[in-house]
Symmetry: C2
Subunit: 257 residues, 2 copies
């Protein structure tokens, strides 16, 4: 099993505070020590940092914690290996380019005996169930929409439909972003919190560390943080419903008609 951390904002924001607590779960406060990764969108581009060392010890994670990268959409993952060896090819988040956009995906959960025939332009590089699910999602979308991605509402519906049969193989909690918005899907366990004015102080669960967002934010800033387990002990985290898919844009869930 693994843990997920995502952030979607209306202004580019760094994830340093949340990542600081999240990293502790990679070998210190929790046992997710089989690698980690984080991907930041900057415009249409992204950059990712991944390592097979535990996030609590990794020199790459240390650098990420000290180098604030501001992003509208960020996805991080810490791994406890179950399906697929501890090696870089099974270290998430995964990325593929489709329609001139980067798509970033990270999965938490096990999909037992999920070995579909993967037909299409996206093929797994590694051996994880997660990458097979990602390639299946992207191939299904690309086959149905060869020239450009569907509009947001349609994309949301397609993702719900594509994911339902995959989720029957086990647990499919995931984060997916194309840099424009961030989808979060829950099979079993996922929470989110919205930070917006009036801002307050937040205190991490995994490390004795607080930050007062009133000093760091503008009145109109809005940030959604999504995580497998709440990262702070004094904020109101909302638990996802089972099989709920939420599209986050500009720091809040998109309401569809």
């Amino acid at each position: 099993m693994c843990q997920l951390l995502g952030m979607n904002c209306n202004v580019p924001t760094d994830i340093c505070f949340s990542f600081e607590g999240f990293c502790e779960r990679g070998g210190n406060t929790d046992r997710h020590q089989d690698g980690w990764g984080i991907a930041f969108f900057e415009g249409k581009a992204y950059r990712s940092f991944i390592d097979t060392k535990p996030s609590s010890e990794s020199p790459v994670a240390q650098m990420v914690k000290n180098y604030p990268i501001k992003s509208l959409n960020t996805i991080a993952h810490i791994r406890q290996a179950t399906i697929g060896a501890v090696e870089l090819s099974n270290t998430q988040p995964y990325q593929r380019e489709a329609w001139g956009l980067n798509w970033i995906f990270a999965h938490n959960g096990d999909l037992w005996n999920y070995n579909p025939i993967i037909k299409g332009k996206f093929q797994p590089v590694g051996t994880s169930d997660s990458e097979r699910a990602f390639c299946t999602i992207m191939n299904t979308l690309a086959a149905k929409y060869p020239d450009c991605p569907p509009p947001l509402k349609q994309l949301y519906k397609e993702l719900e439909e594509i994911c339902a049969p995959i989720a029957e193989y086990g647990t499919l909690n995931f984060l997916l972003s194309n840099g424009q918005l961030l989808f979060a899907r829950c099979s079993t366990l996922l929470y989110y919190v919205i930070r917006q004015a009036p801002f307050n102080e937040a205190h991490l669960i995994d490390k004795d560390m607080s930050v007062d967002f009133t000093h760091l934010t503008g009145d109109n800033d809005r940030v959604a943080v999504i995580a497998t387990q709440p990262l702070t002990n004094n904020e109101a985290w909302t638990k996802f419903e089972k099989h709920q898919l939420i599209a986050f844009k500009d720091g809040q869930p998109v309401e569809f008609d």
Copy 2:
């Protein structure tokens, strides 16, 4: 214009020494200060580190210099922007997945008025001539070989053929690797050196720094280093011929019949 650095080896080797000198050219000993990037293959997987800061100042570059990552195929790039803005989407190396393999590409040179209609599964995310060339190369290969990549000799010939018309638009020096081998193509300027037993001390041109490879290597180790300009002043660098394409495997050029 930009500069390229590549390494292909028969045993996983870190690039720290060469990268140390190469980074100096990103703002110190040379003017390539509009971003940089490096990609390391580890098995079939890769990880890349990119930054829009000059490599001589970037905290990410500092971390890469201090964290030896051993790889059979490494590609690095420092940028002096000409076509395409200074932003992350135009920062190389670029990557695409094809046939379940990662393909990494970095380009040096300008391709003036190179605006082909890019048909196929690989589309540019950014606005650089380099990414357009990379997508064209990959789309041409994928269209001709939909199910699996061609064997090495055939791949070499295809690349020669695909590249010739692109190179007519200007300068097409590039490095391309799928993790199994490294292709280096020269329009105007590219050098390589082979390090193998008996090993010697090497001294950087861009920094007063030497390394004695006799203490760091095994008798059978072999490393090819490819660079836009020689990195050391006491080794025998071979200059590529104009429009020469070399496939490096196990630390040496592949000889085709």
